[in-house]
């Protein structure tokens, strides 16, 4: 028997607010966000798992929120930008691993991408988070500030300094 189905509302809100239906499907988006900030697949995976774990543990309150996705984003971003000490103590992932990937047929980054990767790694995690959220994901400065737990002016500073560093590193300054 065939049943008619209804579309998800444009806002993305799902009628069933159970954990499986709301929090977990966001894992891929969170992973991409974390990977953009951390540039380390293992750390990004940890960030997603930590975020989902927090959501699971706080589900009683999170499930009642109007926008659980925003809460998940904030937790994930905060987890990422608080990883500085851990990452520094472990050293940045070696760039050679990334460059090895250029021999792969699929998803091969160009020279520009490798240059950008090098330049991007010069940014602080907060600068990366601010640029990723503001530039790539299109969040307003106020929204970025809410995600990052800082003032809007601080977000603007992170973005401006991050972009300046990128221009300098890429020889565009």
């Amino acid at each position: 028997m065939i049943a008619a189905v209804s579309a998800i509302s444009p806002s993305g809100a799902l009628p069933d607010r159970a954990f499986e239906a709301v929090a977990v499907p966001d894992a891929r988006r969170l992973y991409t966000l974390a990977l953009s900030i951390l540039r380390d697949e293992g750390e990004a995976e940890d960030a997603v798992q930590e975020t989902l774990l927090k959501a699971w543990r706080s589900w009683d309150s999170v499930s009642g929120m109007e926008k659980p996705a925003a809460w998940l984003t904030r937790v994930c971003v905060n987890h990422c930008i608080s990883r500085r000490r851990t990452l520094r103590s472990r050293g940045w992932p070696p760039l050679t691993l990334y460059e090895d990937a250029t021999s792969a047929t699929l998803g091969r980054p160009g020279v520009d991408t490798i240059d950008m990767e090098r330049a991007y790694r010069r940014l602080s995690l907060k600068q990366r988070a601010a640029i990723t959220l503001n530039y790539r994901h299109g969040y307003s400065v106020d929204e970025c500030a809410a995600f990052m737990g800082c003032r809007p002016g601080t977000v603007r500073t992170h973005v401006a300094r991050g972009l300046a560093t990128l221009r300098k590193e890429l020889g565009d300054a």
Binding site: A3, I8, R17, G110, N134
Partner: protein
């Protein structure tokens, strides 16, 4: 608004597209509910019970909903949450690969088991994207069985499947109402979206008349959005790659043997290119990869020409 120059803008976009094109490991997109290592044991037990109750209620409601539709039992017991949640990609991932020139004719729809989607009238190139999770196959096809796409086993790893119905598709489906139907087992959950390019083809035509007489097609016309590979070819001589693109970004075609790398910087106005690759030095297979921005649409065909008679 960000004050960013176009060069850095292009490079940053390309950089983020590369990141977003990376598939996350399965372990990153699944979540196993914790069963131990609780620091605040009492609170956590309460939280866990609450979480279990919420999920169980969700599963119960979902099951009841399914039972209402199918007259069958719910697909999963409502006593405990699943150990591992298998994921579908979020909406942004499902539709991210659709060309910017398209409009949605079936907005993102989520369901389980078999279903009938709303009827629409195709006007242009049709893009059907879907993802599924669960054990079993899924078949997305029109009720008149003129178009369809199937996946034998749903992996649940967030893979987005897509199929394209070109304007010159035969039998003709354009201008007439079309209903898509999903056939799957009740335990298969899925998401689907359908987009249409509209009546004006966004891609220049790469019909057979654009190729020289005697051209022997070695890789048939392939449509794609974003980065993808073409069929493996075993060239016997120089081969020609004819391609068209439209969208906001560039298209970069490269061969696995490193012998070719062609870049079309601007596809905005619908570019057509024909490139010739020299006769390969080795006789092995060659794979061509088309790298393009996620919202850049392209089509490509590879042919060889008969050797000139001496």
């Amino acid at each position: 608004m960000l004050d960013i120059d176009s060069r850095l803008d292009t490079r940053l976009q390309s950089f983020y597209e590369h990141i977003e094109g990376q598939s996350p490991p399965r372990s990153a997109t699944s979540f196993e509910a914790p069963v131990g290592h609780r620091r605040r044991r009492t609170l956590n037990v309460i939280a866990a019970v609450a979480g279990v109750a919420v999920v169980a209620a969700g599963v119960g409601v979902f099951g009841a909903e399914l039972a209402g539709h199918h007259g069958a039992k719910p697909p999963a017991p409502a006593g405990r949450p699943p150990d591992t949640f298998r994921l579908l990609p979020p909406a942004s991932q499902i539709t991210a690969g659709l060309p910017s020139v398209t409009h949605m004719v079936i907005h993102l729809t989520r369901g389980a088991g078999s279903a009938l989607l709303p009827t629409f009238t195709p006007e242009g190139i049709l893009f059907i994207v879907f993802s599924c999770s669960g054990s079993g196959a899924i078949n997305v096809h029109s009720t008149n069985n003129l178009v369809g796409s199937s996946v034998p086993g749903c992996s649940g790893t967030g893979v987005v499947y897509g199929s394209t119905v070109p304007l010159n598709y035969t039998p003709a489906i354009h201008g007439k109402p079309l209903s898509l139907e999903i056939t799957a087992g009740p335990s298969v959950t899925w998401e689907v979206a359908v987009a249409d390019s509209g009546p004006v083809p966004p891609l220049p035509s790469l019909g057979a008349t654009t190729r020289p007489a005697g051209a022997h097609v070695v890789v048939p016309m392939t449509y794609g959005v974003g980065t993808s590979s073409l069929e493996t070819l075993f060239p016997t001589g120089p081969y020609y790659v004819q391609y068209a693109c439209t969208g906001t970004g560039a298209v970069d075609i490269s061969a696995s043997d490193g012998s070719t790398n062609w870049v079309t910087q601007n596809c905005a106005n619908g570019a057509i290119r024909t490139q010739v690759a020299a006769k390969p030095t080795s006789s092995g297979p060659i794979n061509l990869t088309v790298e393009a921005a996620p919202r850049t649409l392209w089509e490509a065909v590879i042919y060889e020409l008969p050797s000139p008679k001496s």
